[in-house]
């Protein structure tokens, strides 16, 4: 397969960026999008040019590193997969493909297609954890968790923190990410002691980072490689209201 690629090139955070056009020739339909970029980079290196910088790590859809905006859709046209599991067969032969970095004020650009997503880490640091004192593990059936809660918590915990929700949102809002993190701990017994403080601190950190507001476009849910539902945002709204009305833990 052959493609015409328009890729965002930018030397560094302070430099001017622009779209550069490349031809990708003889690409196997079974290559992943990242492997296609590897082939292109090898050609660039052979020609003595600077390779295209992009993030990737596990390449099996669980680390959330590979973050590319492909034709205006985070992770490309296929639903429910990350860029590393987007295969070239989902594109048409000869197609023009635009590749851009995530765009958000809270995600400053580092180089080419790489952005700094530390803002999401700082939201986690603000409350996306449970504090557990060491000691003997409780008996297996001593702590009861309703099956529906366990499954919903698992659905929320599937978030890999890639930031596709922010990239897809017309407002660059991180609401789905924060909602998933808040919801998965709020649904489980271990999350209860810090439940109120967690949601207050995480929402406030999210606001400080300069993400946009949520106006229910639901683009986040469609772009999420883990297909996390916007129902968790409804849960975040409930959790935050309850936490602000009840300040007994402050």
């Amino acid at each position: 397969m052959n493609f015409t690629l328009h890729i965002w090139r930018q030397k560094g955070p302070q430099d001017e960026g622009r779209m550069v056009t490349y031809d990708a020739r003889d690409i196997s339909p079974d290559m992943s999008f990242l492997e296609m970029l590897d082939v292109l980079n090898q050609e660039l290196i052979t020609k003595g040019e600077e390779p295209i910088a992009f993030d990737s790590d596990c390449r099996e859809g669980i680390c959330g590193s590979c973050c590319l905006m492909i034709n205006g859709v985070p992770h490309g046209p296929e639903r429910g997969v990350a860029t590393c599991q987007t295969y070239m067969r989902v594109f048409e032969d000869g197609q023009e493909i635009y590749v851009e970095p995530w765009r958000a004020r809270a995600f400053p650009l580092v180089k080419d297609l790489i952005v700094d997503r530390s803002a999401l880490d700082r939201i986690i640091q603000a409350g996306g954890f449970v504090s557990v004192n060491t000691g003997g593990a409780p008996d297996g059936n001593a702590v009861l968790v309703p099956k529906t809660h366990a499954e919903r918590a698992m659905d929320a915990a599937a978030c890999i923190g890639c930031g596709a929700c922010v990239a897809a949102c017309k407002n660059a809002s991180a609401m789905l990410f924060t909602a998933a993190k808040v919801a998965h701990l709020a649904l489980l017994p271990q999350g209860q002691p810090e439940r109120r403080r967690r949601v207050r601190n995480m929402v406030e950190q999210m606001d400080r980072e300069g993400f946009g507001n949520c106006t229910n476009y639901y683009e986040c849910e469609a772009a999420c490689p883990k297909e996390i539902s916007v129902n968790f945002i409804a849960q975040l709204n409930r959790e935050y209201l309850a936490a602000c009305l009840d300040g007994s833990d402050e």
Partner: protein
């Protein structure tokens, strides 16, 4: 108090403000339409309803003041969140795309501004009689103000009817998204009412557009005169 002000002005709290004020405005739109539809029961029915409102000036002006406050809060929070959203993405994508966001959801600011302009025009037209005073004379006539007569005289002019109908379409688009969005904002999604949450906006929007547009259309056709 500090916690409550944080609630109101945070990104999540703003949703509650927009949802509750939007709900208030939506209830007003439905009530206003229900009153207007009385014209189908005859001019006297509409006039009796209008006189009923006028006979309780304290109630009427409290309601109007409350409505104005809700309207202004909705407006100020919309502008505030819009400005924040614009600054959250200073560099736009070269290749813009939309996966599933509806046209209505993406143009709330546009439809909102059109509604604002329409409300100003509508107030100057039928409430304060500054625009087109010859229609308003029906209301000013001694003793028996003829609201129905004013409405009929106004809508017999095709341009005025057309502007009202166009405005209702914008209002319908705003309600299409907002009419469901407020339930998500208040956290009602994912609790077993998803079908209601997802469709109530469309139902309200279609009802309001059909109900409100029917009046100028029927008058233009000459079925009510």
């Amino acid at each position: 108090m500090n916690r409550l002000s944080r609630l109101v002005f945070s990104s999540v709290g703003s949703k509650y403000v927009m949802a509750l004020t939007g709900l208030g405005l939506m209830i007003f739109v439905i009530a206003h339409m229900s009153g207007n539809l009385l014209i189908y029961f005859g001019k006297d029915a509409l006039n009796a309803y209008a006189h009923g409102l006028m006979e309780h000036p304290v109630l009427l002006w409290s309601a109007r003041t409350g409505l104005l406050a809700i309207f202004l809060i909705h407006l100020v929070f919309a502008l505030r969140t819009w400005q924040e959203n614009e600054s959250a993405r200073p560099i736009h994508y070269v290749h813009e795309n939309t996966i599933q966001a509806s046209w209505a959801s993406r143009h709330m600011m546009l439809t909102g501004v059109v509604i604002l302009l329409f409300v100003l025009y509508h107030l100057l037209h039928f409430t304060f009689g500054i625009f087109d005073p010859e229609h308003f004379k029906y209301v000013l006539e001694p003793k028996e103000g003829d609201v129905a007569g004013m409405v009929i005289a106004g809508f017999q002019q095709p341009l005025i009817s057309a502007s009202y109908i166009l405005a209702q379409i914008f209002l319908g688009l705003h309600l299409w998204h907002g009419g469901s969005s407020w339930l998500q904002h208040l956290g009602w999604n994912g609790r077993g009412y998803d079908a209601v949450v997802n469709h109530v906006g469309a139902v309200v929007a279609l009802s309001v557009v059909v109900g409100n547009c029917s009046i100028p259309l029927v008058i233009l056709m000459g079925w009510i005169y």
